[in-house]
Symmetry: C2
Subunit: 225 residues, 2 copies
């Protein structure tokens, strides 16, 4: 994968080569020179910028409401997902952190009176998170944190968005298959999904799925095993 570094890049990268091998560098999506020749690198770089946007927007909202980013993420997740998924273990997988990290954040949310622990499940080691009244109130105020982005997306025409979504949803499913994203709830990985003669079909809704019918976070999702 190594390739010779063009002269102008050596200047840009402040590379002062100390031997011949230094002229060969590995391909990186964050090397602008790479981006010039490889569309996948360009897109990777762009998606990294979008990732910065989420970081920024989440922090901005966090400061306004007096919570931390992970606390907001937990609150929003609990508000919109079935109880079965609202436990420490699942949240750790969902947000790619360890259980102690979730445990800490939950402790604070609990202390602030925003969530309750519900031990009524069959497994006595585990509990389910539930929003309190003030928790629900707060969630309603933070659910729009990504709206500056969503609004800009909304300005584009339907056909363009539909194509974009198709690529994005397939990408997310492939990230799951290769183990990068440990959880997801897309149609492609659901046991109710069926591909009949090149067409996507949901056996639960009993209907054919168009590109934009595909869900990334279906409430009825169940893992295929």
């Amino acid at each position: 994968m190594g390739y010779p570094i063009p002269a102008h890049l050596i200047r840009i990268a402040n590379l002062v080569p100390f031997n011949e091998r230094d002229f060969v560098m590995k391909s990186s999506a964050f090397n602008p020179n790479m981006q010039e020749e490889d569309l996948a690198s360009k897109i990777t770089f762009g998606l990294e910028r979008i990732s910065e946007v989420f970081k920024t927007l989440l922090w901005a909202k966090a400061k306004v409401v007096g919570l931390s980013p992970i606390q907001i993420q937990i609150g929003l997740f609990v508000a919109y997902h079935r109880a079965e998924l609202c436990n420490v273990s699942h949240l750790a997988k969902e947000f790619n952190v360890t259980k102690p990290t979730i445990s800490d954040a939950v402790k604070i949310l609990n202390k602030k009176g925003l969530i309750d622990k519900d031990y009524s499940a069959s497994d006595q080691r585990s509990y389910t998170l539930q929003l309190t009244d003030s928790g629900r109130k707060l969630v309603r105020e933070v659910g729009d944190f990504a709206d500056p982005l969503r609004d800009l997306i909304g300005h584009k025409d339907e056909a363009e968005l539909s194509r974009f979504f198709t690529t994005l949803s397939e990408l997310i499913y492939s990230l799951n298959r290769t183990g990068v994203l440990t959880v997801q709830r897309t149609c492609f990985g659901c046991k109710f999904y069926d591909k009949e003669s090149e067409e996507d079909y949901c056996k639960l809704l009993q209907k054919k799925l168009s590109n934009s019918d595909i869900r990334l976070d279906c409430p009825e999702f169940e893992n295929r095993n």
Copy 2:
């Protein structure tokens, strides 16, 4: 923007309404019910998942090489951008953190012998970051942190990627215009960019730019003022 909550969502969301107003909630991109009817919400949700991917991949690499995520980001940025941009103030804007946060990370990178401070600039308050030999060596090892994503993107066909990139690049520029992303180096915001009769043109390279010629991080970028 409020709308009535469908009955099945009340179950899913564990909403135990305590008064009439509770039946009306604000639209949120993180509400799966919203995602069913609004493509912009679906895409926003999807991009948030991609954002998690970057977080995961960066942390995974960080553990392997014994650096922190922000330290890796700084190292990669310095490796591939002109000295002019490699100072504390710019890095803070680039990665959406405060100057003390960058200052801390730089102190550690410096202590580890990975970067040097170059005070030779005209402004004596400021300095420029430069990679040391071992810094460059390390950067070569971390530049591929996003490759699990880049590889999956690379499997798609050129035409699909080209369309995806067009939407993505316009989105990034609009994020900059609306002040969400404070820095970017896309053609659209560059002083060498010209739009002649519906066609993109670079006055520096003196050539017409096709969709995928548009750069997100051009080394020659200069702000239009």
